[in-house]
Symmetry: D2
Subunit: 171 residues, 4 copies
């Protein structure tokens, strides 16, 4: 299948929010990090994004605490979405695990997982860069599961996070 | 040609800097906007980008002041670059004109133009989002000239900036 | 008169907005700087300011374009304000001129002028620092006219902006 | 003693760094907050501060973990400083405790404690506002111990942090 050139007929993209560093905020009374609402709408606005997107917050969890039941929920949301192209925001620590679970399910859609090393709310986040990247890969790649991090795109079953460097690599 | 899956062999990308809002700074003595150096290196660092990129500042101009000679210089840089995949940062006002000039030259490389509506230095820029987007499209699209703005990707000879809304659209 | 210790009975402070770099914004369609609304309310919120303040936008002008009639308007606002302590946000280029005009009027209130070298909207402004400074000087200094810039406080009739360095100094 | 008008002879200010939210950073590998170096130099630069300041990092601790020995160290640093005017950056949770300890020591200098509810590194900090405020109070108030938070200035032995609102108040 040749890559569909975006910009012809607009294609709709589903964005599933699952939490992760992407959406962490600073609780100034407790002095700790927590989840409130997703920043995705503000980020799409800042990016002047004009894609047709449908956002759904599936959960708001630290990916180290994500269970198999959570992954089943994410998979169900991918299946049920009317869109064939899906971006999932996800904590980086177990992003590769969720990608593998989605690969195994083989649902025949283009699914791109992405996340951030720095919370968007902290002003110097890689999240805006990664979001632009993930939405772009999602528009042109054929059905499959991918991880978009560090400007690169990895096959969902051949990627891992290097815990020493914080960088994603094949493996 | 099927889309090459990035993340296998790393591909090198040439980034050509031409100026535009992307790189404008605030001159606090004169109270006006001006060009100094490109912010691309800082942006790639913030985005934790690990692509193999080669950056070259070709010019630093407001795109309203870009001449045909300037466009010839950009084209020459595209031709001479050893890389087959090129991202060009460019002012938005005449981005579509430069894209058309590159389409006409038909040099057989994947060229993606992008820019920003807000200077990166102003903290709330769409530039980081667009840069992530352009670098991603550049990795997977076949040879051709494209404009990556607003999260979308347009064919280089069928795009224009809507001056009332500031949004890119087909045309 | 010993300095009144703030924190006892709360004192009210009048904030007069006159424009200047402090409140400039970036017009992304025109690519130029312009005035819209003051950012003072957002700045006071960010600073978690709990002073009793009354904000009034007197004008929104570049201080290089400020006329004698404008200065008369500022003076009238200082006189008419029920508060004895006043902070004025002002463009830096003619801040010293307005300060001298207020000194000459000798209205017996504590008036502190301040401004910014970088627009607040650009994210890296000195405006938040200067605002904290001006509000503090305004609480403890005796009646008189002052300029609060660069962390320092100058007598209103012995201050000038060094146009080469952008720094305020005695003179 | 009448308030000395700053801007005449420049007075030197000692800044003592003790840690607190002010200087917390985000560890992107661990996903948690930690201390590295103080941001005070960058903040003074952003604020275009031209005061003569001497900065000394005394400790880098969360104020909830500050011991009596730590407070003795802070007091010793206040005594030994050649300057008569001192600003101390401090975590907000026990700032009032340290202020009381300094009041009890009665060393005859002007000491202003300040801090932040949001880490400076998070981009939307109250720290820059508070720093401008503390440096200004330190220049004009007579000898004594003060807390500068929320734009206000409190006597060091009559202040507390309201843990529900995060706001400082008399008490």
């Amino acid at each position: 299948m040749p890559p569909q050139l975006p910009g012809g007929a607009r294609m709709a993209i589903r964005i599933l929010i699952t939490g992760g560093t992407f959406d962490k905020e600073y609780d100034e009374l407790a002095g700790s990090l927590f989840f409130k609402d997703t920043h995705i709408h503000e980020m799409l606005r800042l990016g002047r994004c004009r894609l047709e997107v449908a956002v759904r917050t599936v959960m708001m969890v630290d990916s180290l605490e994500m269970t198999e039941a959570d992954r089943a929920t994410i998979l169900a949301n991918c299946r049920q979405a009317p869109e064939d192209r899906i971006v999932i925001t996800h904590g980086t620590d177990t992003m590769a695990d969720t990608a593998r679970a989605l690969v195994a399910a083989a649902i025949g859609k283009t699914i791109v997982l992405t996340g951030a090393m720095i919370p968007y709310a902290f002003g110097s986040s890689d999240g805006l860069f990664n979001l632009g990247s993930a939405l772009s890969f999602a528009q042109v790649l054929p059905a499959g599961v991918y991880v978009a991090m560090n400007g690169r795109c990895f096959a969902g079953d051949r990627v891992r996070k290097n815990r020493d460097s914080g960088v994603f690599e094949e493996g």
